[in-house]
Symmetry: C2
Subunit: 342 residues, 2 copies
DNA sequence: CTGAAAGCGCTAACAC
DNA sequence: GTGTTAGCGCTTTCAG
């Protein structure tokens, strides 16, 4: 590992000058610059980022906390976050909490403030207290794809209007004539995906308030995965066989709905319409391709990286909430007009 | 940010002693240890990992280079790698090369040897030269899930016997009576997935060498994605309508095969059997659930992390090649007996 | 058992 | 323009 000092010797200058050349700081004569650059090339010198980080008091890394990178949505976000970080000369540390808040705390404890100045937080199982503590220790924390733009959590966040996403999804179903709509929510009633459900209620109320009456009994709160959607669909269909559409708060469980429908011998969308939210990659790969409400993931990732870097650079008094672009409907094959009464 | 020195003052000792307490090095009296620990707790001290890394000459991070974390296979590997790294007190830097070898080179240039001592390399678009150069600069490089255990690349690697995986997949088809087998390979003929195809040829030869004659014309080399598999299937079926099974070198394109079959009105497995290789998560979620040959991804990830850490600790003369466990057949719904003529 | 001191490789004032 | 001088916060001999 050749060091700055070695390069300096080789070029017959001092370390400071080499540093200046490499970072385009201060004034350096053209001739010396040449010599330094030549020495750098000849020795194959690469700056030691750890030493630089220590001297500068900040490391060029961002930490991304997710509950499990195996959940298909996270990689899509991580990909964009990594690109954005890379554009800014930063590296991305991926921290899986493995759905365990202790792991999350431990990560925050170890990384924040030293190895990484900025922390991007997805729905990882983290206690708010830990995040605030992390902040106090000097790290910049940004919540990513916060689901409630209207309820800033007191922490900087990039919000996405998932309530609006829910509204759009429901409206699409209503526009197709559906009135017997079941709902599957991939979280607890007060959990992260609750706002999406509120959007459904909004749309129902706008169209025909009486539709809300039975909704409660035709709503299932499940784990945010394929199995959750599958089981809930079977139960919903058993209880209310006349449902013509299912609103699913997330694409992943929506895949389970598709499977359940197939196993029940129901054709989608002829017998049953299904709509999800998020538009993860495989939504277009499902059979039938899933109609869904897309959400600005890439944009949110970029905004999150931008914000955390701004925060590192210049802390702000009020924790800012920024809203990523609006969700939009993506019509594919899993939704169709309400079946005619047979 | 409270520092070691502050803790030392607070406890009435010197930094060296605090360091000894925290790392259980040297001898420290029980009483002083108590006082130090108390000071640490009271001040909420956390060691600065950057400073430690600089002093120790190595950072607690591992870099994972992948072409795109969005490819569904990588997250599965990354998840396990992150867990293994975490167990060893290391962090995982995820480096997307975005299918661009320049990005890969740049990453290696910046990270290796300074921010991260160890580099795990998946099929990222990297030049071998860059890896060797990286190694020479003092980083430990490990190739992950190297596809040809019998051809060590001169770089440390964790190999998986994909040729055997190909053989198992083919044998399963042969056992079901299939003789008209098409093949779809997710790489160039000499590309990364070639060994899997060799496994197919092995099995064919063992069963009936004459089967190999037409194989060449019934093999498609495609991009390793759904679209690749889809298009290839259509072409293959057009050229050879009597195919009763398709061997696909990877699960991702196999999904495309399933779609193409459906669009052609072929039932899987009644009319056409399809088998993939890898057993990525969605293989079980496909409709019909994909029969495939599973590969020891989790084990490979762990072994890779172990190896790279060993290498960091004690460089070895001969680049070791270690073989992760054997692939195994996972029978699901996409394969069945050869259809009866007529 | 504990303290003093040097140094990891780089940056950043400030002198010359 | 370029060199000098201090550190950044921690680890690690080596004394005491």
């Amino acid at each position: 590992m050749t060091t700055l000092t070695e390069v300096a010797h080789h070029a017959g200058v001092t370390p400071a000058t080499v540093s200046n050349v490499l970072r385009n700081r201060g004034k350096v004569g053209a001739a010396t610059r040449e010599r330094v650059l030549a020495a750098v090339a000849e020795l194959g010198y690469r700056p030691n980022l750890t030493a630089r980080a220590l001297a500068e008091g900040r490391a060029p890394t961002l930490a991304l906390m997710v509950s499990s990178i195996a959940n298909p949505f996270y990689p899509e976000f991580a990909l964009e976050a990594e690109r954005a970080a890379r554009r800014h000369g930063h590296f991305l540390l991926v921290c899986n909490t493995d759905n365990d808040s202790n792991v999350g705390s431990a990560y925050l404890d170890r990384i924040a403030g030293t190895l990484s100045q900025g922390v991007l937080v997805m729905n990882a199982d983290l206690h708010f207290d830990d995040l605030l503590k992390t902040q106090r220790r000097g790290a910049s924390v940004v919540l990513c794809m916060w689901e409630k733009p209207d309820q800033p959590p007191g922490l900087p966040c990039i919000a996405v209007d998932f309530r609006q996403a829910g509204r759009l999804a429901a409206q699409h179903l209503l526009d197709l004539g559906h009135r017997r709509i079941g709902a599957i929510v991939g979280s607890e009633p007060d959990g992260v995906q609750a706002a999406r459900y509120v959007g459904l209620v909004d749309a129902l109320r706008d169209t025909d308030p009486s539709l809300i009456a039975t909704l409660g009994t035709e709503t299932a709160y499940v784990e945010d995965n394929v199995e959750g959607g599958y089981a809930a669909t079977l139960a919903l269909l058993d209880a209310s066989p006349d449902l013509t559409a299912i609103f699913v708060s997330n694409d992943f469980p929506a895949l389970g709905v598709l499977h359940a429908a197939a196993d029940r011998g129901l054709r989608v969308p002829e017998d049953l319409s299904v709509i999800g939210i998020t538009d993860i990659h495989w939504a277009r790969l499902a059979r039938p391709a899933l109609t869904t409400v897309a959400v600005p993931t890439a944009q949110a990732a970029q905004m999150a990286v931008d914000l955390v870097l701004e925060l590192i650079h210049a802390p702000m008094e009020e924790p800012p909430t920024r809203i990523a672009g609006e969700p939009w409907l993506v019509v594919r094959q899993s939704t169709g007009p309400v079946p005619r009464k047979g």
